[in-house]
């Protein structure tokens, strides 16, 4: 039986084996820019352009699904721009009332606030006023927030479905409450506060979780198949398994439950070293895990991960985007990816993907190898 790309991804997420291993990587903004060379600021702000880019990349590289890493684009974004300067090809400077932004083909926008308020001390945080009831921003990177337009929070999913029909699997993305906490306090104060002021951290986390749950439940009303939870600070590079159990698991579990009740899949993206907490992550009730970075960026052995959690969760990932795609020779890249396909095939639910996002400078030719190998070596017979 032949499967559509969407059916292929759905089968893997349902822990079944489709015709072949599905392929779906997430692009970093830098890699989208490198591949598409769009007007960088417009690509960032204009939802339709962003959606067109996502579809183009999915088609170009024969992926089976599309991850929508930004949502809530405002159709009126230009109204707030005070000046828009073309610095050179692929580099633009935008000035807003409160900030200057540099958009380029190499990376995420770099933002400078003219007068940014200093981070508040945790003791001075007033939960009612300082932690929003409605989540209207995505903390993308240091100083970089993507504002969610409250009148158009999920338009992008509509554009995408209009463009691709039923062909591809479409996934949304939600940021973990733990990330919002560290963003609010700054990572150093945030991590120290887990120790010095755990109760206040939990109150803040709960308020964020309430807002995020509402956002996730609303997102589930759209024609998506899954939500990815971005939770990059929850691994061994940052916190102990005990802290994971105390400050990450109880909060992520709350909205995972709601997403599952809404009939959608949900998977956790925690990059880096996570080998010591795979079972804890499974306790969250999520349907899958993404990343599973191999050595040296992480410490997960794919086979072992399947043995430990593969009966209950699908796995998406495991290709080292730097050492296997960017810097390796063609032979090594193919060898590494083939090995992952072989191991992945022996598990129940598997989606071939880069562990973290595709590094910006990975070439087009290299990315084509992925679909070629998924097709030639990924068949379930």
């Amino acid at each position: 039986m032949s499967y559509t790309p969407r059916e292929r991804v759905m089968a893997a997420m349902n822990l079944q084996k489709p015709d072949r291993v599905p392929l779906m990587c997430q692009f970093s903004i830098g890699s989208m820019m490198q591949q598409l060379k769009p007007s960088p600021a417009e690509f960032w702000y204009d939802g339709e352009l962003f959606a067109l880019g996502l579809v183009e990349l999915c088609n170009r590289f024969d992926f089976d699904g599309i991850l929508v890493s930004l949502h809530g684009h405002s159709p009126d974004w230009r109204d707030k721009v005070i000046s828009f300067k073309e610095l050179e090809e692929g580099r633009q400077e935008l000035v807003f009332e409160d900030r200057q932004e540099l958009h380029s083909w190499t990376d995420l926008p770099m933002v400078k606030y003219f007068d940014k308020a200093a981070l508040k001390n945790i003791d001075d945080i007033d939960i009612d006023n300082d932690v929003p009831d409605v989540i209207d921003y995505i903390p993308v990177s240091q100083n970089l927030y993507f504002k969610i337009d409250k009148d158009h929070p999920f338009d992008i999913f509509v554009f995408l479905r209009e463009m691709v029909g039923n062909t591809y699997s479409i996934h949304g993305e939600i940021t973990s409450p733990f990330d919002y906490l560290l963003d609010l306090l700054g990572y150093e104060q945030g991590l120290i506060s887990l120790i010095m002021n755990p109760e206040k951290c939990k109150q803040i986390l709960q308020k964020f979780t309430d807002g995020i749950t509402k956002l996730a439940v609303e997102m589930c009303k759209y024609d998506i198949d899954a939500i990815k939870i971005s939770s990059p600070f929850a691994g061994m590079g940052f916190i102990s398994p005990e802290h994971y159990q105390e400050f990450v698991l109880p909060y992520e579990s709350q909205f995972i439950k709601k997403v599952r009740e809404a009939g959608k899949h949900v998977y956790i993206h925690t990059c880096g070293h996570i080998d010591d907490r795979l079972e804890l992550m499974q306790l969250s009730g999520a349907s899958g895990l993404e990343c599973l970075d191999p050595e040296p960026v992480g410490n997960v052995d794919l086979k072992d991960a399947f043995n430990r959690i593969g009966d209950k969760m699908f796995i998406k990932g495991n290709i080292d985007s730097v050492n296997s795609l960017l810097y390796a020779s063609n032979e090594k890249a193919e060898e590494d990816v083939l090995k992952i396909i072989e191991t992945g095939k022996s598990g129940k639910g598997f989606i071939l993907s880069t562990a973290c996002s595709i590094a910006p400078m990975v070439t087009e030719e290299r990315l084509h190898i992925l679909s070629k190998l998924a097709e030639s070596a990924g068949k379930y017979s």
């Binding site: 190499t106 120290i192 061994m236 940052f238 916190i239 010591d276 050492n323 910006p360």
Partner: protein
């Protein structure tokens, strides 16, 4: 004296800053690195002994445990805070020359890269092993690295990069520093790097974690 040395060492290892600090819970109300260092000095313990017998070995133990993933970033940050509270009492002895640092370590995250969590941990651990640390911050241009090397003859230079795109800036900075100062010691680190990459771009050493960095710079000091 041994009593003070041991207690300061334990305060640093456990991240006990001062008597008011609630962490760790089993040391609540007890004096921390701050009070103990002050008292030790008042009781005639030599500043140099506090540095070399208590602080440096304590941070070494923290570094080992962090390397082995038995301690995590929050605990390391607490130990570094405890160490800093002790260090404040030793500052006058550094200024007077009664105690000497092992040397100067200059560190920065390379141009275009804003990741600083790893770099900051490396700085803390190297400071805790008895070095003066000059932190140039993030997004450091090659010229700034060169200036810092010029201003601090004999220093060891550390660079951090977390992005594949900025590994290129690292290569550029290393090569430029090297061409101006051929014998400059350069140490590099950051998650996507490898030993091969470090040697290819002309760095002297790649350290995957702060403990390896500490061992390396102490071995060449």
């Amino acid at each position: 004296m041994d009593n003070f040395i041991d207690r300061i060492s334990i305060s640093i290892q456990r991240g006990k800053i001062d008597a008011n600090s609630p962490y760790p819970p089993d040391m609540k109300g007890e004096p921390g690195a701050d009070e103990l260092t002050r008292e030790a000095l008042q009781n005639g313990v030599a500043a140099n002994d506090i540095l070399t017998l208590a602080m440096i070995p304590a941070m070494g133990i923290v570094g080992e445990l962090f390397k082995d993933k038995k301690l995590f970033v929050p605990q390391v940050l607490m130990s570094a805070k405890a160490m800093n509270s002790a260090m404040l009492h030793l500052k006058p002895y550094f200024t007077s020359g009664e105690i000497k640092q092992r040397g100067t370590f200059v560190i920065g995250t390379v141009s275009g890269d804003l990741h600083d969590i790893g770099k900051n941990l490396v700085s803390m651990m190297i400071e805790g092993s008895g070095w003066r640390v000059i932190d140039l911050g993030v997004d450091v241009k090659t010229e700034r690295f060169i200036e810092a090397v010029q201003e601090n003859p004999g220093c060891i230079l550390g660079m951090s990069a977390l992005l594949t795109t900025t590994m290129e800036s690292m290569e550029k900075s290393v090569r430029q520093v090297r061409s101006n100062y051929p014998s400059q010691r350069i140490l590099v680190g950051g998650a996507p790097l490898s030993k091969e990459f470090a040697f290819r771009i002309g760095a002297d050493m790649y350290a995957p974690n702060p403990q390896v960095a500490v061992e390396y710079i102490n071995s060449i000091a």
